[in-house]
Point group: C2
Chain length 203, copies 2
């Protein structure tokens, strides 16, 4: 027994990530297993360990791919905007696109934030770079705030993320249905208003 399909390591890696993505999208993180990924590839489970350190490593690489897809989704949303759109409209577009991606790819998106690194371990650079790219996208739209841009970008991104988490896990629907896009609008608009007012008061 051996030699069956003869794929390169890079091909095996891509096949495994594609299989894992399909499983998570369909069944959620709980449905993911090395045995299922291997079966879907037509290989034995042990083969995965030629390409990944372990299942955690595979998940980390899947998460990097998910963030890459999210970044592309955000870029497309911005590209659809008229050229003259101001920072506020661009930020609202980013925020709504983020929520839409989270809703559309709920299980894959959840896995990014629910996969806890082992105590003390640090995020692999491949993933950290993806996070930086997303944060940079938001920060770029806040350049007019000057020194406050870094802070504001983190607050707004966190805020939209929190709305997505709580709305999509039914933790806001305690008293009737929730209009998540309305929450996103309120957050972005009021926060920007407040930032502008605070800066006016300073000068």
């Amino acid at each position: 027994m051996a030699r069956k399909a003869q794929h390169s390591k890079e091909e095996l890696r891509a096949m495994a990530l594609a299989a894992a993505r399909e499983i998570v999208a369909a069944e959620g993180a709980a449905g993911l297993s090395t045995r299922k990924v291997a079966a879907r590839m037509g290989y034995a489970a042990g083969t995965l360990y030629l390409v990944f350190r372990n299942l955690d490593d595979l998940v980390l690489q899947l998460n990097a791919a998910t963030l890459e897809a999210l970044d592309a989704h955000l870029a497309e949303a911005l590209a659809r905007l008229p050229a003259g759109a101001g920072p506020r409209q661009r930020l609202l577009t980013l925020a709504h696109a983020y929520y839409l991606f989270a809703q559309e790819h709920f299980h894959l998106w959840s896995l990014v934030f629910e996969h806890h690194l082992p105590e003390g371990e640090t995020m692999p650079e491949s993933l950290a770079a993806r996070v930086r790219a997303l944060l940079g996208r938001v920060e770029a739209e806040l350049a007019h705030l000057g020194a406050g841009a870094a802070l504001a970008a983190r607050v707004l991104w966190s805020g939209v993320h929190g709305i997505a988490v709580l709305a999509l896990t039914d933790n806001l629907a305690a008293t009737g249905p929730v209009d998540a896009p309305a929450l996103v609008d309120s957050l972005v608009n009021r926060y920007l208003d407040g930032f502008a007012a605070a800066r006016r008061n300073q000068s």
Copy 2:
């Protein structure tokens, strides 16, 4: 074999929840198993199924207890405030207390939001009531906003939750360390400023 400790069902339930809480606090959700919970109680794993429908049911009850502890934590923080404290100071206190609880009890708090219900299933009333209580706490401090209170409460709670999620899972530290309490302050203060400004413009 049988009859060993002779605990009532209610005692078994409490023992199991206490054991599960210790395991999750120490090892995270990934370390939780029916076999470990049972061993810590001095019972066979099968006994758990006399008291819980399954592991999911146990987790749901643990999560309700966690939200109860969170609610008590918030109440204590408010109680330490001087009697004359205004809504803004009370909201800031709630927000910081929320973040502190999330940090202190990271694994238990994570489990509340990372435990996804099976497709289509609805949250048990015991848990839904706890979520309503927390949201009600925030909403009460926003009564001065009138009709906007429900919306503002959801935005602020989501926002603080998002900051906690991203900060505590290292998803904001992409470019250096993050001062989460400063993000919380900025969110609450700027959002409230913005809300006030928007209301001024209406009238």
